[in-house]
């Protein structure tokens, strides 16, 4: 890991298209401004990790457990759910 010290209003360039600027530091919290091309997705780390974790849990489902769960979803109405292809 590259470790750098920056002051408020200083920035870091990652490649030629990404800028991370320190906007302020207050009460142990660092406020960052990030400029990046639209194609680069920027997430808070913990949200990304949780999204990964939920996907992993979703991917482990099998058809028979879905069937069992579906049977107990009468409150959702079931039946015609519309837009599937």
């Amino acid at each position: 890991m590259l470790v750098l010290s920056r002051k408020v209003d200083e920035d870091i360039r990652i490649g030629d298209q990404i800028i991370v600027r320190v906007l302020g530091v207050k009460d142990g919290q660092v406020k960052l401004g990030i400029e990046a091309p639209r194609s680069v997705r920027v997430f808070r780390g913990e949200l990304y990790v949780q999204a990964q974790k939920e996907n992993l849990a979703a991917a482990s489902a099998d058809r028979s457990s879905a069937k069992a769960v579906a049977a107990s979803l009468t409150h959702l109405g079931g039946g015609d759910t519309g837009t599937s292809k």
């Binding site: 997430f43 949780q50 999204a51 489902a61 879905a66 769960v69 579906a70 979803l73 079931g78 039946g79």
Partner: protein, 136 residues
């Protein structure tokens, strides 16, 4: 096109049914191409099935079934799905309302996003907690 999925067996699909995820799904970034499978036995779930990894499929629901009005802010030109984490006990099964799947209806380009709305949980109970009287 023919594809064999471990759970669903032989699948026959048209190339134009393939949803392309340029960034993949979180944690599964290497798989970019999926089809939606409607398995009548497990309705109302639909399945987002990889056509690159025979073991990979995600059960999903239309979010409007879980939280009416959810799609409202995501745009009419997109089809929205939420992935379900299913447990043997339905009470522990959840849907991920925070990072839905968004599919452009015209281009079939798909993306999994993370919404800024912190009131939307990653783990929303699929059924109201027992003892609850509905109205959520």
């Amino acid at each position: 096109m023919k594809w064999v999925n471990r759970q669903f067996g032989d699948l026959d699909y048209d190339e134009n049914m393939v949803i392309h995820f340029a960034e993949g799904l979180f944690g599964f970034e290497q798989y970019r191409n999926f089809i939606i499978v409607h398995d009548v036995d497990s309705e109302p779930f639909r399945w987002l099935v990889s056509v690159e990894n025979a073991d990979l499929s995600f059960p999903m629901l239309e979010p409007g079934m879980i939280l009416p009005g959810y799609e409202g802010h995501l745009g009419k030109d997109s089809e929205i799905w939420v992935l379900a984490a299913l447990k043997p006990n339905v009470q522990q099964s959840t849907v991920n309302l925070r990072s839905p799947i968004v599919i452009d209806r015209r281009s079939y380009e798909g993306q999994q996003i993370i919404l800024d709305d912190e009131t939307l949980p990653f783990q929303f109970p699929l059924v109201p907690p027992s003892g609850a009287t509905g109205g959520r």
